[in-house]
C-alpha cells in the first residue's frame, strides 16, 4: 500500500485535508457530470468522480475496494460509456431544456430535500468526536456520538485483501457464485441485444470500405444526430432489426 494512503488512514490532520480536497473534487465532478452540455465531457467528469471516491475508499481503510474501483469503474465502465458515446455519435450539445415545464426546479428542490433527509437519516449519530475512527475517544467510548473503532485492527491481522477474500469465500460464497452467473448472463444479454439480423444484402466483402446503406434506417452511421430529431421521422424508420414479435395475438 502506498505510504501516502497508509499515512492518510492514520487519521490526524492529513485525513481531514485529504477528505476536504478529495470531497470537493468529488462534489465538483458530480455537479460537472449533471451540468456539462456535452455527454463526453460528462463522462470525463464521471471518471474524475470515480477517482476521488477511490481515494476516499483508501482513506477508509478499504484498500482493495479502492483498487477495484479504479480498475472496474474508472477503467472499464466509463470507457464503455465513452465507447458507446463515440459509436452513437451523440456527442452534440444536449440542450438542457427539459420538455416537462418546471422539471428542473422541481428536481433540484427535491434533490436538496433528499440530501437533507438522507444526511439526517444516516449521518446523524456519527458526528461526535467518538466517531472519528481510530481516535482514542472512540476506543475509550468517552466522546459523544457512536464510537468508530476503525478497521486498523482487522486490516492489520491479515490485511484488507485477505480479510475480504476470507469473508467472500466463507459467508458470501453463494452470493459470489450468483454474481458470477449474473455476469455471464449480462454478457450474453449484451450480445443478444447487440445482434443484428444477418441480412444477405449487408454482407460486406472483406476489405471494402463502403458500409452498405442500411436498408430504410437512413444510414445512421454517417448522419450526425443534428439537434433533437423529431420523434415521428425516427419512429417512422422502424428498422427491420427490431426483433419481429412471434405469433403476436391477433387483436
Amino acid at each position: 500500500m502506498t505510504p501516502v494512503l497508509a499515512q492518510a488512514t492514520e487519521g490526524g490532520a492529513a485525513e481531514l485535508w485529504t477528505f476536504i480536497i478529495v470531497g470537493a473534487v468529488a462534489l465538483g465532478s458530480a455537479f460537472g457530470l449533471i451540468l456539462m452540455r456535452n455527454a463526453v465531457h460528462a463522462a470525463l467528469m464521471l471518471v474524475l468522480n470515480f477517482l476521488a471516491i477511490a481515494v476516499l475508499y483508501a482513506v477508509l481503510q478499504a484498500q482493495f475496494l479502492a483498487v477495484i474501483q479504479l480498475i472496474v469503474y474508472a477503467g472499464a465502465i466509463v470507457v464503455l460509456f465513452l465507447f458507446v458515446l463515440m459509436l452513437l455519435g451523440v456527442s452534440r450539445e444536449d440542450s438542457l431544456t427539459a420538455r416537462v415545464p418546471g422539471q428542473k426546479t422541481m428536481a433540484s428542490v427535491l434533490g436538496v430535500l433528499l440530501f437533507v433527509s438522507l444526511a439526517a437519516a444516516t449521518a446523524g449519530p456519527f458526528l461526535g468526536d467518538a466517531s472519528v475512527c481510530g481516535s482514542e475517544e472512540a476506543l475509550t467510548g468517552t466522546g459523544d456520538g457512536v464510537p468508530c473503532l476503525g478497521l486498523a485492527a482487522v486490516n492489520a491481522a491479515e490485511g484488507n485483501l485477505r480479510g475480504l477474500g476470507f469473508l467472500l469465500f466463507t459467508d458470501y460464497v453463494w452470493a459470489f457464485e450468483v454474481t458470477a452467473v449474473l455476469l455471464v448472463i449480462a454478457a450474453i444479454g449484451a450480445i443478444v441485444l447487440g445482434r443484428r439480423q444477418e441480412d444477405p444484402s449487408e454482407l460486406v466483402e472483406p476489405g471494402s470500405t463502403v458500409l452498405p446503406a442500411r436498408r430504410g434506417s437512413g444510414s445512421a452511421a454517417t448522419e450526425p444526430g443534428a439537434g433533437p430529431t423529431d420523434a415521428d421521422e425516427g419512429a417512422a424508420t422502424e428498422t427491420s432489426e427490431a426483433t419481429p414479435s412471434e405469433g403476436e395475438e391477433r387483436t
Partner: protein, 101 residues
Amino acid sequence: MSVPAGYYLILAAALFSIGAVGVLIRRSVIVMFMCVELMLNSVNLTLVTFARINASLDGQVLAFFVIVVAAAEVTVGLALIVNLFRLRASTDADQVGALRA
C-alpha cells in the same frame, strides 16, 4: 482533528442527491445512466464508511458486490441504449413516449 465518520456519510448523501437530480434533469439517456452509476458509487461510499464504523469487512464485501452488479448493469444498459438508438435514431429520453396515455 480528524474526520468523524458522519462527514463521509454526508458527502455520500450529497453525491446521491446530485445523481438523483442528474437523472431528472438530463435528457440524454446515457448521461442519466451515468448519474445512476454515480448514485451507486455514493451508496458504496456509505457502505464502506459503515464498514469502518462497525469494524467489520462485511460492508466492504457488500460494496464489492455492488460494483460487480453495477458492471453487469452497465453492459446490459448500454446494449439497450444502442438498440434504442437504432429504433429512434436519438437518445433523447423524451422521444421515447410510447407509453404516453
